[in-house]
């Protein structure tokens, strides 16, 4: 048993200011709680803070992501002559930028934040877990915009594809971004060790690269199944379909709906994982 005097004589301790209100039982009545931070303002604050990190730390990585995708397209130029296969190469290479940043980097970020004790900072603030996860995911999805656009435009020029439907990226980036960022955040927060978080992020990125860039017609059945299970595939398909002479917008919408659905589920899982990681 610890030796703790219940109450010191008043002379020994400096007189503390009057204690809080007391109820009949002699216990201190519960004090009023300070207000909670609301979801949208705190999401905006996290988003802004994360975006500012891009200036400091992320710009070199964005260059890497973009050069990597541009390099892949130049390489594939020698293999793929044009037509339907070129659609997948350009769409796949563009989505790889999203996968690199949202899945790989976000998984690393959350893994490192959790193991360095950085999560304690957020966990001792009255902020909804969803605001931290969504704010970070939204910021990482935003980092991908310039790289994805550069890759898409370069690819269209390289393979002689029309630039007219490039606007569809306005929907594809946030939806694929949400799905992949949610997955990345969940990997980072659930991995038992930070190296595993990095590994999972890298594996997800490699899968998005191999299964997204290569045209699906040449793949064996089992690989095609794996491709169908990867959320980035639906982003690639949605974007690739818009290169057709007369795009079937219903399919494009269905593909994007799948991305959105996966996004909602993976972000919900990431939010749950955050709660779990915050209180151990």
């Amino acid at each position: 048993m610890s030796v703790v005097p219940a109450d010191l004589p008043a002379t020994e301790a400096p007189a503390p200011p009057a204690a809080g209100p007391r109820d009949g039982a002699g216990r201190t009545a519960a004090a009023e709680l300070c207000p909670r931070a609301r979801l949208w303002p705190s999401l905006a604050a996290v988003y802004r803070a994360q975006l500012s990190r891009a200036r400091v730390a992320r710009i070199p990585l964005l260059f890497v992501a973009t050069f990597q995708s541009v390099g892949i397209m130049i390489m594939m130029r020698g293999v793929v002559s044009g037509g339907g296969e070129a659609h997948f190469v350009v769409a796949g290479a563009s989505i790889v930028v999203v996968a690199y940043v949202a899945l790989n980097l976000l998984s690393q970020y959350f893994g490192q934040l959790r193991f360095s004790g950085g999560l304690d900072h957020y966990a001792t603030l009255p902020v909804p877990p969803a605001a931290v996860v969504l704010g970070a995911a939204a910021a990482y999805a935003s980092f991908t915009v310039p790289g994805t656009l550069v890759t898409a435009v370069f690819g269209c020029v390289l393979f002689g594809l029309p630039l007219a439907n490039l606007w569809v990226l306005v929907a594809v980036i946030p939806l694929a971004g949400a799905a992949l960022a949610g997955l990345g955040a969940a990997c980072g927060l659930l991995a038992p060790r930070p190296e595993l978080a990095t590994l999972l992020g890298q594996l997800g990125m490699s899968a998005a690269l191999l299964l997204g860039v290569l045209p699906p017609d040449r793949m064996p059945g089992i690989v095609r199944l794996a491709r169908d299970l990867l959320p980035s595939t639906y982003g690639v398909e949605a974007y690739a379909r818009t290169f057709a002479e007369r795009p079937d917008w219903t399919y494009v919408a269905v593909d994007m709906a799948v991305c959105a659905g996966v996004g909602v589920v993976s972000l919900a899982v990431a939010t749950w994982a955050y709660r779990r990681a915050a209180v151990r």
């Binding site: 010191l8 020994e12 301790a13 207000p35 500012s52 304690d120 902020v127």
Partner: protein, 324 residues
């Protein structure tokens, strides 16, 4: 204000991996009971591994205890850990979440996540940065700052968005005297103006003696004493600490020195002795004369500090408390 009863947390034994031995079960906090009163600066003092940070993590709702209760301002924190964030501000040892932000954005964002609106968060940010003398470096990223400046910036973030309880885990690590003074005057101002209570984790004896109203001494997860610093020091008031530093080695051929050796804690060329005043006088007379004096590099004679209290209470760690 903050009442802790029977708080116990055991880390389970870890199985060893190939090449590394497993670690046994560790009881990080063992039946801890504390009462922190409103408006006081209450300290948790102990060497590394004494269980200070584990205790604080349980008080801030970051860790669930195995047994025991924590009540802060009438709220049960074990049952409702999420309420802790609405009652207290916590300065942890890590700055990972803020490292890549500028000082100004770190403070503003933290304020907004404490529920302030934009205008209020900016006004408080400016006031706190000014108060702590950080305005000149407000635009620099935390990770580009020196350790002490970074710590001060994290402390600033902890102050934005007022809370009735501040939990500070070694807030002044790495700080120069100017920054330390800024921290303690900011704490004093809040205490005088708003009755803010401070729970301070430290292993710095001098700091504990100068700033704390009361201190709980932790060792091996247990509270071994809890009193005012003066009250604790009274327990060992019959002792004087003598430190001897030898030039190369102790002159053991002098019989009096050889006799002193049995009572000394040796650390390289330094001997630390805790003696009754008349014994201390005799010891000093011995080493300042004759053969012993030529071998002596330096000596000090001091009244007991909280470190002596810690050792007198049976603290297991021989070294570990910082005297700076």
């Amino acid at each position: 204000m903050c009442a802790v009863r029977g708080l116990t947390k055991t880390y389970p034994a870890a199985r060893g991996r190939r090449g590394t031995p497993g670690t046994p079960e560790v009881r990080a906090t063992d039946d801890v009971a504390l009462d922190v009163r409103r408006g006081e600066i209450f300290g948790l003092l102990g060497p590394n591994g004494a269980g200070k940070s584990t205790l604080v993590r349980q008080l801030t709702g970051l860790m669930r205890p195995d047994h025991g209760t924590v009540e802060i301002l009438g709220h049960d924190i074990v049952a409702h850990p999420e309420r802790a964030a609405r009652l207290l501000a916590y300065l942890g040892q890590e700055a990972g979440a803020l490292d890549e932000l500028t000082v100004s954005l770190a403070a503003e964002t933290t304020g907004r996540l404490r529920g302030l609106d934009v205008a209020r968060a900016r006004a408080e940010r400016d006031a706190v940065l000014e108060e702590l003398g950080l305005t000149a470096i407000a635009g620099r990223a935390l990770k580009k700052l020196s350790g002490g400046q970074r710590r001060l910036a994290c402390f600033a973030a902890a102050l934005v968005g007022e809370r009735p309880l501040l939990v500070l885990d070694e807030p002044t690590t790495g700080m120069d005297p100017v920054a330390r003074r800024a921290v303690w005057s900011a704490v004093d101002r809040r205490r005088a103006e708003r009755g803010t209570t401070v729970l301070l984790v430290t292993h710095n004896v001098i700091e504990a003696e100068t700033v704390l109203d009361r201190v709980a001494v932790l060792d091996g997860g247990r509270v071994i004493a809890c009193d005012t610093p003066a009250g604790l020091k009274e327990r060992v008031s019959g002792e004087v600490r003598v430190e001897l530093v030898w030039r190369e080695r102790a002159p053991l051929e002098v019989p009096e020195v050889a006799a002193l050796r049995e009572r000394a804690v040796e650390s390289g060329r330094r001997w630390t002795l805790r003696l009754a005043p008349e014994e201390a006088r005799a010891a000093v007379a011995t080493v300042t004369g004759g053969a012993a004096f030529t071998a002596l590099d330096d000596f000090t004679l001091a009244t007991p500090s909280l470190e002596d209290v810690y050792l007198a209470l049976g603290g297991a760690a021989r070294q570990g408390l910082v005297k700076a």
